[in-house]
Amino acid sequence: MKFTEEHEWLRLEGKVVVVGITEHAAEQLGDLVFVELPDVGVNVSKDDEIVVIESVKAASDILAPLDGKITEVNDSIVEDPSLVNSDPSGEGWFFKLELNNLGDLDSLMTKEQYDAFIS
């Protein structure tokens, strides 16, 4: 698993990465009440604002962690945004991304680096 400074996790599954937000981020955001996901098939560039999430109090953006194409999105978190809070690194995943360059993953943080980053 790799991590971004924007508090996303990326898990490589074959040629695509599954992307979600970390437990730390979910806790900081509080109870989510609304999630808007990108369309499947779109090409995204690193740092594009591709997901909107809202808590009772505020709206935030989730950025594309790397360059690639959206291959699948998790509609169940649109139906029930609380899944992101209850299981952020499992059922609460956001989207799957086919990376333009798998090697880009090397630029991201490891678990140890991320834990140090948030402490």
Binding site: G30, D31, V33, F34, V52, E54, S55, V56, K57, A59
Partner: protein, 380 residues
């Protein structure tokens, strides 16, 4: 800007797992480890404890012991009927300005020898200067620095307080009373900012921590942050100064006509006589171009402050804007307050809000979003 203030309960909040935000110059708890959603629902079903010590408590008394003179002074600044406000009763009002706008909204209580005014934290220094400037020659104005303010809100609030003193049970909505609680003299009002039954307690700052800790020993009581305070007041349809009210918006535009009391209106016994009266009474007679309304978004995205409103999905000229908006934990759907052109402000009228470049349907509805549960005294 580093001179951020803390209330006497700061350490207690910290110990309770509060997440802090700067608010009106204070470091205030926006939520505790419980989270905004559960804090909100807990207040609606049980009892929530709020630290609102950042708010201003202003005591106004006559310099010459002249009770009528005191009423007249205060009535120059607000459009309410203070002669009708009996001893130990409270009412909602606002300081008006010469444009007919509001320099703050407030709760004012008649305490016999003086009036106690509770004002917004962000406005308290300006309110104090305003009072000093306008009526300071005739009245003694004190911004009380040594008292804190707690609110205990929700259906079980009264039950919790009655354990300490049975006097709480004999109060009705907007009653005010001095009650001894754990040996401390508290100035209590049966009021609040949540739409629930509840109390606000002005407590000497040296005793507030002990009392707050005592309340929190009850299993029915949880500490509630400013996040839930905002969603609770929004469900109740109550205005937030700075969002829904400001210096250029009149009380008539804000749909607070009820707070301009009859005797101060055209034809009333003490018609006008307050700052901005011509504009406000003129609007009361002939209407306003814009009006505050409640909106129910049709989709699931919250429509928050600043979003522009349009008559159709295509129209290019805006007909209003949202001033407060968020997600209602009670209704499990988004709700908003907005100002729109008055001719569009009819129930069930459909409009569009622009959110992140997309038009989303909204329906004009009536307030409150969630039924209020004040303990109102019914006529004998």
């Amino acid at each position: 800007m580093t001179n951020i203030k803390k209330t006497p309960l700061y350490e207690l909040h910290d110990r309770l797992g509060a997440k802090f935000v700067p608010f009106a110059g204070y470091k205030m708890p926006v939520q505790y480890s419980t989270g905004v959603m559960k804090e909100h629902l807990h207040t609606r079903s049980s009892a929530g404890l709020f630290d609102v010590s950042h708010m201003g408590q202003i005591k106004v008394s006559s310099k010459r012991g002249d009770a009528v003179g005191l009423l007249n002074c205060l009535e120059e600044l607000m459009p309410c009927d203070l002669r009708f406000l009996s001893k130990d009763r409270q009412c909602y009002s606002f300081f008006t300005n010469d444009r007919g706008g509001l320099s703050d909204d407030l709760m004012i209580a008649n305490r016999g020898s003086h009036f106690l005014i509770i004002v917004n934290a962000s406005r308290k220094l300006d309110d104090f200067s305003h009072l000093e400037k306008k009526i300071g020659d005739r009245c003694q104005i004190e911004l009380l620095a040594d008292r804190s303010l707690l609110a205990l809100q929700g259906p079980l609030a009264s039950k919790v307080l009655e354990k300490y003193n049975s006097s709480f049970a004999r109060m009705f909505f907007l009653d005010v009373k001095t009650i001894t609680l754990l040996g401390v003299e508290c100035w209590v009002s049966r009021s609040g900012y949540t739409g629930e039954d509840g109390f606000e307690l002005s407590i000497p700052s040296e005793d507030v921590k002990r009392i707050a800790e005592e309340f929190l020993t009850h299993e029915d009581v949880l500490p509630i942050g400013l996040g839930a305070r905002d969603s609770l007041r929004l469900e109740a349809g109550l205005c937030l100064y700075g969002n829904d009210l400001d210096e250029i918006t009149t009380p008539i535009e804000a749909n607070l006509n009820w707070a301009v009391h009859k005797v101060r209106r055209i034809g009333g016994e003490r018609e006008g006589g307050f700052i901005g009266d011509q504009i406000i009474l003129g609007q009361l007679a002939s209407g306003t171009d814009i009006k505050r309304v409640a909106l129910l978004p049709k989709e699931r995205a919250p429509i928050r402050e600043g979003c522009a409103l349009f008559e159709t999905a295509e129209s290019t000229s805006s007909v209003g804007h949202v001033t407060s908006g968020g997600f209602s934990p009670t209704l499990q759907k988004p709700i908003s307050l907005a100002y729109i052109k008055s001719d569009l402000a009819t129930k069930n009228n459909e409009l569009f809000a622009e959110v992140r470049g997309k038009r989303m349907g909204v329906t004009v509805t009536t307030l409150p979003f969630v039924k209020t549960k004040y303990k109102i005294k019914t006529k004998e």
